[in-house]
Subunit: 301 residues, 2 copies
């Protein structure tokens, strides 16, 4: 699992900071999460192949999370994209995009499929044999979802030294990895647990931005490997968090602790702070495994 | 008159090139012309004070000329702007912006005034005692206007050596500059032309992008000081110009020659060309005073 942060600052694009956008690579999928102004340039800067993006997830319709979407969709057209593009986002997103394509007489030459969201409960958005994506309802000034990306358990691990003890045809190994008992060439039934170990623990990633402190999300993201949680404010400005429905670094850390996640990544920093290290320091008072997002930073898990 | 090129490349923003946007400073006005994605960042990079922008002119609704507008309007709100903002652009621009402000529940806290255009004849958009702005109808795939910015003639120049020959009260000089004859303290009527010279020649700037080769514009821009004309293609790709309703460098130069402008600035280069110097070379075959726009370049006239 690889996470590339294209932008992680709040409110407005600036000379050296970008609004929210990130790319999650998981089981050969490249999922784009949020798409603030300038995202297509950051994709180029990070050498991410446009054609590999087939699913875009938009958390909410504040500009710093979606104003780059129409430009990216248009650029796909200019690059003669042919494959489907799926856009998941709040109700209204289709009207925003199609109005602009209509008025510029620039319909896409590829299938552009909108999946509009308005449920306040978690919804399954995407699923294949290896990965699922669902919404995480959040608490912000307008309708907002986070997204939970989950690997499914893979095949069991073959214990090569064990299986070699039996006279088992190699063509049956695939079925053994799927958990089946197996008959050896000697007619003996070998119980699966003798020749396999449990599969690698599936990874999961929860993207939670923007949101006020919202403990209701905890049950859904319990034990998630990685939690990206917004932390717009430091303690010195904690009084701004509730009215703007944002979180402080400490509030993000409390969510991480209660949800027992593996690692917390902080982002969506207000540009008022010249030193983002303070976000980490404050969060560490409540949760031990904290990292800071930053534009262009890559995490591999 | 000072022209700052924020972006002058066609189609899509890239790592080192920006779509169309420029700032014209003329008689203390700061006019923003077009607003491709990333314009607000380029304004910051060029240290242009956001609060001085009161009028934004949008040529047409293709994304590379307007996708940065909603973000800029939103940033003005976040910066607590109070003064009016006037946006001039094709019919539909108001719906595009207001739909996004509505869905993000982010109405501006300053007066945002749209002036929607659909006339195919030149229209006066703005006028004060020193400057006027009018549309230049162009020929593109969708409804498109260029813009003609004209200084009005200033006061006549006092010929100090001449006026000192007469016994004229200094308090009357202002009226002399306005072209009036004047009575000396000796009771003599002094004809204005004896003590003044003609005012400085008013400057004018014509922005013409995007457009096919369109000689119909020539009468309107005749003798303009500076013409910015798009030149998307070089001769090697001249067959692409007509169907896409763009111009070649030579076609831009032919317009400049026929219109007898003072200087031609070329821009809106297709990003397919690694060397934009060729645009200048080709244009020079038809017109002698040619300069190339480039992102971040500043022209003072």
């Amino acid at each position: 699992m690889k996470l590339t942060i294209l932008g992680c600052y709040a409110a407005t694009p600036r000379t050296f900071t970008n609004p929210t956008s990130q790319v999650l690579e998981i089981n050969n999928h490249l999922f784009l999460i949020d798409c603030g102004e300038g995202t297509q340039v950051e994709l180029r800067r990070n050498k991410i192949k446009f054609s590999r993006i087939k699913h875009i997830f938009i958390s909410h319709l504040h500009g710093d999370h979606c104003f780059g979407l129409v430009g990216l969709i248009s650029t796909f057209r200019l690059l003669n994209r042919e494959s489907e593009l799926h856009v998941y986002g709040p109700k209204g997103i289709k009207e925003i995009i199609t109005l602009q394509l209509k008025l510029s007489k620039s319909w896409t030459n590829y299938p552009l499929l909108f999946h509009e969201l308005d449920s306040k409960s978690p919804e399954l958005l995407f699923e294949d044999e290896k990965v699922s994506v669902e919404t995480i309802p959040l608490d912000h000034r307008i309708y907002t979802n986070g997204f939970l990306f989950k690997e499914k358990p893979g095949p069991r691990k073959l214990l090569i030294n064990e299986i070699m003890k039996y006279n088992i045809d190699v063509s049956l190994y695939q079925s053994v990895k799927m958990g089946k008992d197996v008959e050896s060439n000697d007619g003996e039934i070998i119980p699966n647990h003798l020749v396999t170990g449990p599969p690698a623990k599936p990874m999961s990633y929860a993207f939670c931005s923007d949101t006020a402190y919202y403990p209701e999300m905890i049950s859904q993201i319990k034990n998630t490997s990685i939690l990206y949680h917004e932390s717009t404010f430091l303690e010195v400005n904690r009084e701004l968090a509730a009215p703007t429905k944002h979180s402080t670094a400490i509030q993000a850390a409390l969510i991480a602790k209660e949800a027992n996640v593996g690692k917390l990544i902080l982002g969506h920093f207000s540009t008022r702070y010249p030193n983002i290290q303070l976000f980490k320091e404050e969060a560490l008072s409540e949760f031990s495994n904290v990292e800071l997002a930053d534009d262009g930073k890559i995490f591999t898990f």
